[in-house]
């Protein structure tokens, strides 16, 4: 079920009302209802794939209990933990990467002929997200960060909680599981906050991302016929498309969770206002980057080791991060590209130079900050070209064509032609997010004088909803990009 679908507009109020009015007196019953609702939400795509989620949940829950049981016998706990990791990664590997590895092997050794070796597999929506969430639990239990839970219902609810099931944020058991183990109470302010965050998420997804997608698809599908300036527009629009799409999803997910009294972690912190690549990675897809940091980078030694190990560790997490996104060399190249950008900063010890919000306490950035943000954005945009391309060859051709002399002939028509009012929406999003850059999301209104007036708040909501309706009516609904990961 898509967040931006009619089905979800019916599903959410029903689940909300049953959750708070019918099942709120019994925690286990409420959690069981969360599982049912989540399985309906997920099964809407393909109910057969529910078996995978149930199996992953069961494996991790059982392994958690066994790890706890074998606390005194370290090797047994380790064995259980490793077995759970292997089983989970095996499922992920088979469904997501098997065909990629076989095809790559065939390309090298069998002249590309992989007939009979490839499997006709469907990629289960969001498999990377819930697998990583399940893995984090058993690793945390193994590392004594959390006690294993005996409450199977709460655990299944933790893995399958529908707002973040298919595209994150990838929650940690330390944050989310205790919320399912304790009674939730309805809080008006949190619920309203959640609605606002959902509204902002819908704006970014439908109004910004889906509009940009049409221009991006036209340009990337015919990139060989385009001039450098048009290709640049395509790459920039894709940067906003993927940001609007993914951060929009996260905002909708976090906002929806708030309606059910659940607090999810922040996944994006205005990443395009970063002053260097390291800051960008602290602000982009935070739940994944911190996952890799905690479960891969730090166990490998992190940055507190020899220089060559730092280089190795940096490359490992970036390449893994790229590979996590999908079975294609473009994702790996994208990870490698970011590793190259990140490496100088970490080697010079400047990777934590910018941990505060840009232009804190000021309305406008300084010239230096503008240049830093623009350069970082440009580097990120080049990365997105690699990410968006069908293959490495296309990415290379696209980037070469970008460097065409034609790039200076800025295509004003693309920005100003009425059909391409996407730029107006992008500007609106950027202005709002700039003004709200220190806050959790763009539409957070608490503490802002003008929004104390209910009428003003409602006018803003009204404008966003109407804009949403108009845009949906024009271009229809579309999937979220990150579902495929």
């Amino acid at each position: 079920m898509l967040f931006n679908s009619f089905e979800f507009a019916i599903f959410l109020p029903i689940v909300f009302l049953l959750y708070w009015f019918v099942l709120n007196r019994n925690l286990r019953l409420q959690n069981a209802f969360v599982i049912v609702a989540s399985y309906v939400f997920y099964g809407w795509w393909n109910w057969r794939l529910l078996i995978l989620i149930a199996f992953t949940s069961l494996c991790s829950w059982t392994s958690g209990l066994l790890i706890q049981k074998f606390r005194s016998e370290h090797w047994k706990a380790k064995f259980v933990s490793i077995t759970n990791i292997v089983v989970n990664l095996l499922i992920l590997g088979v469904f997501k990467y098997y065909n990629f590895f076989v095809q790559s092997f065939a390309d090298v050794f069998l002249d590309g002929n992989a007939d009979g070796l490839l499997l006709d597999l469907i990629l289960p929506v969001g498999i990377s997200f819930y697998t990583f969430q399940a893995l984090s639990y058993s690793i945390d239990v193994y590392k004594h960060k959390i006690e294993a839970t005996r409450d199977i219902i709460a655990f299944f609810a933790f893995i399958s909680f529908f707002p973040q099931l298919v595209a994150g944020p990838i929650e940690r058991a330390t944050n989310l599981l205790p919320q399912f183990l304790n009674k939730r109470n309805f809080d008006y302010d949190i619920a309203v906050n959640g609605c606002r965050q959902m509204l902002w998420g819908f704006f970014k997804k439908v109004v910004v991302a889906d509009n940009c997608a049409i221009v991006v698809n036209q340009i990337f599908d015919n990139y060989q016929e385009q001039t450098g300036s048009v290709l640049l527009v395509g790459a920039i629009f894709f940067a906003f498309q993927i940001y609007g799409d993914f951060s929009g999803y996260s905002d909708i997910a976090i906002g929806t969770a708030k309606l059910f009294g659940i607090k999810l972690m922040q996944n994006f912190k205005t990443p395009y206002f970063s002053r260097d690549i390291a800051e960008f990675w602290r602000r982009w897809h935070i739940s994944l980057t911190t996952w890799f940091r905690d479960y891969v980078y730090i166990p490998l030694g992190g940055s507190r080791c020899s220089k060559w190990k730092i280089v190795r560790n940096t490359f490992i997490i970036f390449l893994l991060s790229g590979f996590w996104h999908g079975a294609n060399w473009t994702f790996i190249a994208w990870g490698g590209y970011h590793a190259f950008l990140f490496l100088p900063l970490i080697l010079m010890g400047k990777n934590r130079k910018y941990t505060n919000t840009v232009a804190e306490g000021r309305l406008l950035p300084t010239m230096k900050e503008i240049i830093q943000m623009s350069l970082t954005f440009l580097l990120v945009v080049i990365g997105w070209v690699i990410f968006r391309s069908e293959n490495i060859g296309q990415a290379w051709e696209y980037i070469c064509s970008l460097c065409d002399t034609d790039i200076w002939k800025v295509s004003y028509r693309f920005f100003l032609f009425p059909q391409h009012y996407e730029s107006i929406f992008i500007i609106v999003m950027l202005v709002v997010e700039w003004l709200q850059r220190g806050r959790e999301y763009g539409l957070e209104m608490s503490g802002i004088k003008v929004f104390r007036l209910k009428a003003v708040r409602w006018i803003v909501y009204f404008i966003i909803v109407i804009t949403y309706i108009l845009v949906v009516s024009t271009i229809g609904k579309s999937d979220f990009i990150y579902f495929q990961f």
């Binding site: 708070w20 309805f186 008006y188 619920a191 309203v192 609605c195 049409i214 698809n217 036209q218 599908d221 059909q419 409602w458 909501y461 009204f462 909803v465 109407i466 309706i469 108009l470 949906v472 009516s473 024009t474 271009i475 229809g476």
Partner: protein, 316 residues
């Protein structure tokens, strides 16, 4: 909780009221669909030549040139199944009907064999969504089981334009249903616009879609036959870039379908004007549609080669 629910309900009501208000306001605005429907319903016994189909006929044939009692009921982006439903509804009531001219479009013979992704083109999406809801709302055509498509939700940004729409605007049709297209809306890339996808005739066509299409054509033919009217299938002239994308095999299929209908019913003729000579760049608004000047030339040719030949006579 009560406050939250109250606010949510009030806000939802506000949105619904706004949407319903827009829908009702739009109902009062004139449009080509309601005009043409009303005209046909009021002139059932006056029309002897009825033009059906999509923009390829709507912009291409001028009833005034074709003669008396001709009406252009073609509307842009109208799918063939809409014509079937309109034919079912009106042809049996048209006592003086001599001829039905139906748009016989090359791209209708795609049947899933070209790789053209129409959904990727925003402009086309808007046009298709708009026509879908206009056909439902103003022509009374049931679409995908729905009897009503909200203009606000389905017609893209076009419904906004309709607020300043009147019978005097450029987009409106003349009294006999012809929509004039002038050169002012021509873009620099007009030669590439509306070029059909290359149809791969080696690929298997979607037989269900083909059977549906054939069923529709047969039904219109039967209705014409029952009224003693001739059915003229017309492929309107197209520009060079469109012509280059045309497959000979598909043309043969088109001819074959028309011939098979004629063999069975005896009242069907196919006229292929896709490669018509004598048209210039200014006669086209894009690769697939004529401007007013193009329509003037084509209407004369059509009158002389089709209407004069058949003399608007019925076949019985």
């Amino acid at each position: 909780m009560r406050k939250f629910l109250k606010n949510t309900i009030v806000f939802t009501i506000m949105i619904v009221v706004f949407c319903v208000g827009v829908e009702l306001a739009l109902l009062t605005k004139p449009n080509v669909y309601s005009y043409k429907r009303k005209y046909v319903e009021n002139h059932l016994n006056d029309i002897s030549v009825l033009l059906l189909g999509n923009s390829h006929i709507e912009y291409a044939l001028i009833p005034e040139i074709l003669g008396d009692s001709v009406f252009n009921f073609a509307i842009k982006a109208k799918d063939w199944y809409v014509d079937v439903e309109l034919a079912e509804r009106y042809i049996p009531q048209m006592c003086n009907l001599k001829m039905v001219v139906l748009s016989y479009s090359y791209h209708d013979f795609d049947f899933g064999r070209s790789n053209l992704n129409r959904n990727g083109n925003k402009k086309e999406l808007v046009v298709r969504n708009t026509s879908k809801c206009m056909q439902t709302k103003y022509l009374g055509i049931k679409q995908h089981g729905y009897r009503y498509y909200s203009e606000l939700l389905c017609s893209g940004e076009r419904f906004m334009k309709r607020f300043k729409y009147s019978k005097n605007t450029r987009d409106f049709c003349d009294s006999l249903g012809f929509v004039k297209i002038d050169l002012s809306s021509k873009t620099k890339t007009w030669k590439k616009q509306c070029v059909p996808g290359i149809i791969d005739t080696i690929k298997h066509r979607d037989n269900i879609a083909f059977a549906d299409y054939m069923h529709g054509l047969k039904r219109i033919t039967e209705l014409c036959h029952a009224q003693g009217a001739k059915l003229i299938l017309v492929s309107a002239p197209v520009y060079q870039t469109y012509q280059n994308a045309i497959s000979e095999m598909v043309l043969k299929e088109m001819r074959g379908v028309a011939d098979s209908l004629n063999t069975f019913y005896g009242n069907v003729e196919y006229y292929n004007f896709l490669f018509m000579k004598g048209l210039e760049d200014d006669d086209f608004i894009d690769a697939g549609h004529l401007t007013e000047t193009g329509a003037l030339k084509f209407s004369v040719v059509f009158r002389d080669s089709v209407l004069v030949r058949w003399g608007k006579n019925c076949h019985k």
